[in-house]
């Protein structure tokens, strides 16, 4: 806007006066009005707490008449019992010490007995010589804030309850998982006359439901069966196949302990159950142990379905794979070929079964290389001639050394004939 000539000046000046007046009216230019009807409570008290001045806002909140308050009541008379105590023990001493105090949450008691949460600030007014004259106090309505805090508190309680429930659910599921997991692996291996056994299982999945499995169990008065395998996949889906596999093999072995026959039965069961668009399968070695009490030797007959070959650690310090080429993954074809093999364990010999979690552990710089079959054979050679428990301890240490390079489940089973053992075949 630009001004056009002098004439307009007086007119403009008059206009400004008019708008100033209107503005002042809007701005409640009366300080008295501003004091009385401010959106907060004002209170002036003598140093002993006697109320000297109070605004209308606070009187309205309290539901009291000015005459009943001024000169007749003290600040603490406005407070609840708890507020009075807090005032005596904290508020008043701090105010005396500091000369001012801000944002203290208190409750005032209205004439009808209803409590009202407020935020109180006080400042001491001093005279010319520095002596305290009176206390000025403001009250802010904290009802909304209190409601908000209560809402927060309710939400926190609800969250805590939900958390507690979740923890309880988690504990219950952990218990259920532990029971299921224990149904997939033997608690302890049975004692086999003339043999020593050791097993180790390590799962990579956080819910501890693994896809590897092993078992050792008697099939008649003289013979024992064993198996160890690996279900493709992890977690509950894999565990379901593990369960099917374990109980099918146990039942099949009682019916016909021939290794190829047992794996064929398992193959039919898995294929029948899981053929289709989401095939599930496993690899396994199943075998039988026939100790000869006369010689102390144990005849091992086994068969493999797609499983890495077992290792035989000999008393003479050598270790070699027991090849089972051509055995197919279990569960992918209705009729699958399985590869049988036989060996004899003499005193000091140990048969070692493992899953590929061991041989495919990532090692070396950047965890890029795999541990591999040859490294395992070399490791086994170093421990050949030692009892199964010692071999297992060494392998457990090896697994520990892989650290986070071990990203699959690993099952290990060692079945050995003790070295310095009399030929009776009775364990001591």
């Amino acid at each position: 806007m630009c001004r056009t000539g002098q004439q307009s000046d007086p007119h403009d000046a008059g206009g400004e006066k008019t708008s100033d007046a209107a503005f002042a009216a809007l701005l409640e230019d009366s300080t008295e009005e501003l004091y009385e009807c401010a959106p907060c409570g004002y209170l002036s008290t003598l140093m002993d707490g006697t109320i000297a001045k109070i605004n209308k806002t606070l009187l309205d909140w309290l539901g009291l008449e000015r005459e009943a308050v001024v000169g007749r009541m003290r600040f603490t008379d406005l407070l609840t019992m708890g507020g009075k105590l807090y005032h005596e023990t904290h508020f008043a001493p701090l105010l005396r010490m500091q000369g001012e105090l801000g944002g203290v949450a208190l409750e005032i008691r209205k004439a009808d007995g209803v409590r009202m949460p407020v935020l109180v600030s006080s400042v001491v007014k001093h005279g010319a010589t520095g002596e305290p004259l009176l206390i000025r106090t403001t009250f802010f309505d904290a009802r909304d804030r209190r409601a908000y805090e209560e809402e927060l508190l309710r939400a926190r309680k609800a969250a805590e309850e939900a958390h507690r429930q979740a923890e309880a659910d988690r504990a219950r599921l952990q218990d259920a998982l532990a029971v299921l997991q224990s149904s997939l692996l033997p608690d302890i291996l049975p004692r086999i006359p003339g043999m020593e056994t050791a097993a180790h299982y390590r799962t990579a999945s956080p819910d501890r439901l693994g896809g590897d499995f092993y078992d050792v169990f008697p099939i008649d008065a003289t013979r024992f069966a064993f198996f160890l395998g690996d279900v493709c996949g992890k977690g509950p889906q894999a565990a379901a196949v593990t369960s099917l596999t374990r109980y099918t093999l146990r039942a099949a072995a009682l019916h016909d302990p021939d290794p190829v026959s047992a794996l064929s039965t398992l193959n039919r069961a898995v294929h029948e159950r899981y053929s289709g668009g989401d095939p599930r399968y496993c690899t396994a070695i199943f075998g039988t142990l026939e100790p000869d009490p006369g010689t102390g030797q144990v005849t091992v007959r086994l068969a493999s379905g797609g499983h890495p070959p077992a290792l035989v650690l000999r008393a003479d310090g050598t270790a070699d794979f027991l090849p089972t080429p051509g055995g197919l993954l279990i569960g992918i074809l209705p009729n699958a070929p399985f590869a049988p093999a036989t060996t004899t364990l003499g005193p000091g010999d140990t048969l070692l079964l493992y899953t590929d979690g061991l041989t495919e552990a990532r090692t070396g710089e950047g965890r890029s290389a795999l541990y591999g079959d040859e490294a395992l054979r070399a490791f086994a050679t170093d421990h050949a001639g030692r009892p199964p428990s010692a071999v297992m301890e060494a392998l457990t240490g090896l697994l520990d050394g892989f650290g986070d390079g071990l990203d699959d489940d690993t099952a290990l089973l060692a079945l050995g004939v003790p070295a310095a053992r009399p030929t009776t075949g009775t364990p001591t």
């Binding site: 095939p279 399968y281 797609g306 993954l329 070929p337």
Partner: protein
Amino acid sequence: MSPLNLAVRDAPTGPVVEVKGELDYDTSADLRDLLAALPLKPGQRLVLDLARMEFCDSSGISTLIVARNHAQSAGADVALAAVPASTLRVLRVVGLDQIFPLHPDAESATGT
């Protein structure tokens, strides 16, 4: 980590699926989905060209079996071409080298 890249082309013998990158737990669902939607006629041969497959875990092996099942249910045949040495070793251990016809490259698998 290189992701899985899949490309399909038609050969006289049937579709050729080129598998590039890593076929593992995270990516094998892509190949399964592709296979499920892949039209196959009886007598055709589904060829999986693995020349540029960099990694294959047990989920990947599973998916190869899915491919075989898919081909069989369509009355078709399946073949693997240019299987990398590390995967070939696994296939031998689990006996799948007897189940899948193996070809040195896609050309010989498609007879071109």
